[in-house]
């Protein structure tokens, strides 16, 4: 018998008897029957009884303590600092005052400043805003304490500042009045939203009409049959995981991801392929790009367009 049990027995002797009452009948009968048995039988029964009583006490104590110390709903864990009162109204008001005009007054900054700061014309910004405004995450919501949350224009402007200036998430806090975690979330949501909604519109291969247009323009430049210029570049990846370090190790000794794109002379991109590891050279990237796969499979470009060069007529590949 382990010595810890003896300790429990000694304790049970002095505990009030009401703790023992729900003991089932057979056991108590056994205890009575064992009472005139040997010493060891007595001890066994006492150990069992004592152990049960101890469990009961411990459970009762835990319940009482839990009722006192633990609240039924989560709440903030102890030790966390309270949320800063960032004054969302102030942020939204200053944005509206600076770039859109409040109360019939003209905006503080001109159109040129708007384009310079937000890196895009006003029409594009408005288009983004109207697309994003009523989305679930962007909509102005009420939190659990019943307070109104931030405005969609704050989140949008903060995310665009991060994209446009390459700032850390902490930086637009001073102007847009949002916490860094919200700004990080806004950037993530904005990029996902844009890619989901507009990838099929803007990063698509040209249709037949657009191909004719491109061919006409390039023929006027002196290059008939040219449908764009292709180039690759590397985008440095600072936080590359160690597991991927070997693949993404580029020829400069850094970790990077290769970007391949085809554009026309207005730098309008109609093919954009990112994600090839930095150890690839341009030929490898071209070989694994979805465009080249389609060209090799005969899916694209359309076969019915041809052009004449030096007296010979060829199809677009």
């Amino acid at each position: 018998m382990p010595p810890t049990c003896i300790h429990t027995v000694v304790l049970t002797v002095f505990f009030p008897l009401w703790l023992l009452w729900p003991i089932p009948g057979p056991l108590r009968m056994d205890a009575v029957a064992a009472a005139d048995g040997s010493f060891y039988d007595d001890l066994d029964v006492a150990v069992v009884l004592g152990y049960r009583a101890g469990l009961r006490i411990r459970r009762a104590l835990l319940t009482v303590r839990g009722r006192v110390e633990k609240r039924p709903f989560g709440g903030s864990p102890p030790g966390r600092r309270p949320n800063r009162d960032r004054n969302f109204d102030l942020g939204a008001h200053s944005i509206m005052r600076d770039y859109f005009g409040v109360g019939g007054e003209p905006p503080v900054y001109s159109e040129r400043d708007f384009e310079k700061r937000n890196r895009m014309p006003r029409a594009v910004f408005k288009r983004l805003y109207t697309a994003v405004r009523n989305e679930p995450w962007w909509r102005r919501s009420i939190n659990a304490t019943g307070r109104l949350q931030s405005y969609p224009i704050q989140k949008l402007l903060a995310a665009l500042r991060v994209l446009g200036y390459g700032e850390p998430y902490d930086r637009p806090d001073e102007y847009c009045r949002l916490s860094p975690s919200t700004i990080a979330e806004a950037t993530r949501c904005l990029t996902n939203f844009i890619v989901d909604k507009w990838e099929a519109t803007y990063l698509l291969r040209p249709t037949e009409d657009e191909l004719k247009h491109i061919l006409t323009r390039n023929a006027a430049r002196g290059m008939p049959g040219c449908i764009g210029s292709i180039d690759c570049t590397h985008w440095l990846w600072l936080k590359c995981p160690k597991a991927l370090a070997a693949q993404y190790h580029d020829r400069k000794g850094k970790r990077s991801v290769v970007v391949e794109s085809i554009c026309n002379e207005d730098t309008y991109i109609w093919h954009f392929f990112i994600g090839a590891p930095g150890s690839y050279n341009d030929m490898n990237v071209l070989a694994c790009s979805p465009l080249m796969l389609d060209v090799n499979a005969g899916v694209w470009p359309p076969r019915n367009i041809s052009y004449t060069l030096n007296g010979r007529t060829r199809r677009l590949l």
Partner: protein
């Protein structure tokens, strides 16, 4: 692809024009990161997926801004409409004053459509060929040489090549990676460019 060994004037002219045309791809990688600076910084994302999303989003925003400022691709319908209007105006003026002053009508803001139109009048930049294809789907059109003889079953004529089948993809890949076709194209381009604007672009020697 430029000529690797540009010794003759034709090759040098071709290389100059090719470098000039190639500049827009190189300009892209200066314009896009300077517009959206996050591409200029080393990426601090932890997964490739987020990097891809970010790069794509930046490219889409760039395209939207370009479309707004330069009016490409989606503005093509408007350009066509404007060309029709211009044509109608020219017809009207032709009826009034006689032929000769077509280009005096409303010009475009950047003057590009007029150039493109002039070029397309000089020599069409492309042809649309939707007619029935000869047997050699992937080669130049050849006359049909198979003729059904008595008791012979025609098998595997080129007409049977279904898009997506193995023969189709094999033929397409062979055509796309044809080395001789590449050099023939290079040669033809050089000839064409030298004849077209050789005198203008011949470098000083």
């Amino acid at each position: 692809m430029p000529h690797s060994n540009s010794v003759t004037p034709k090759r040098r002219v071709y290389n100059r024009l090719q470098q000039a045309v190639r500049k827009d791809a190189e300009r892209l990688y200066a314009v896009m990161p300077s517009r959206f600076n996050i591409n200029l910084r080393p990426a601090r994302f932890t997964t490739v997926l987020r990097m891809m999303n970010n790069g794509k989003a930046v490219a889409i925003l760039h395209n939207m801004a370009i479309e707004c400022t330069r009016g490409e691709f989606l503005a093509q319908r408007r350009m066509n409409a404007a060309a029709e209007v211009r044509q109608a105006v020219a017809d009207l003026q032709g009826q009034r004053q006689g032929p000769g002053n077509e280009e005096s009508g409303c010009g475009s803001r950047q003057g590009r459509p007029a150039t493109a139109r002039a070029a397309s009048e000089r020599q069409p930049a492309f042809f649309i060929d939707n007619g029935p294809r000869g047997p050699g789907v992937w080669g130049p059109p050849q006359p049909a040489e198979h003729e059904a003889q008595d008791g012979m079953v025609e098998t595997g004529t080129e007409q049977d090549v279904v898009p997506g089948s193995l023969r189709y993809t094999d033929g397409a890949e062979c055509e796309a990676k044809d080395r001789d076709a590449h050099f023939a194209l290079l040669q033809d381009l050089s000839e064409h460019i030298f004849a077209d604007r050789g005198r203008l672009m011949l470098p000083y020697s």
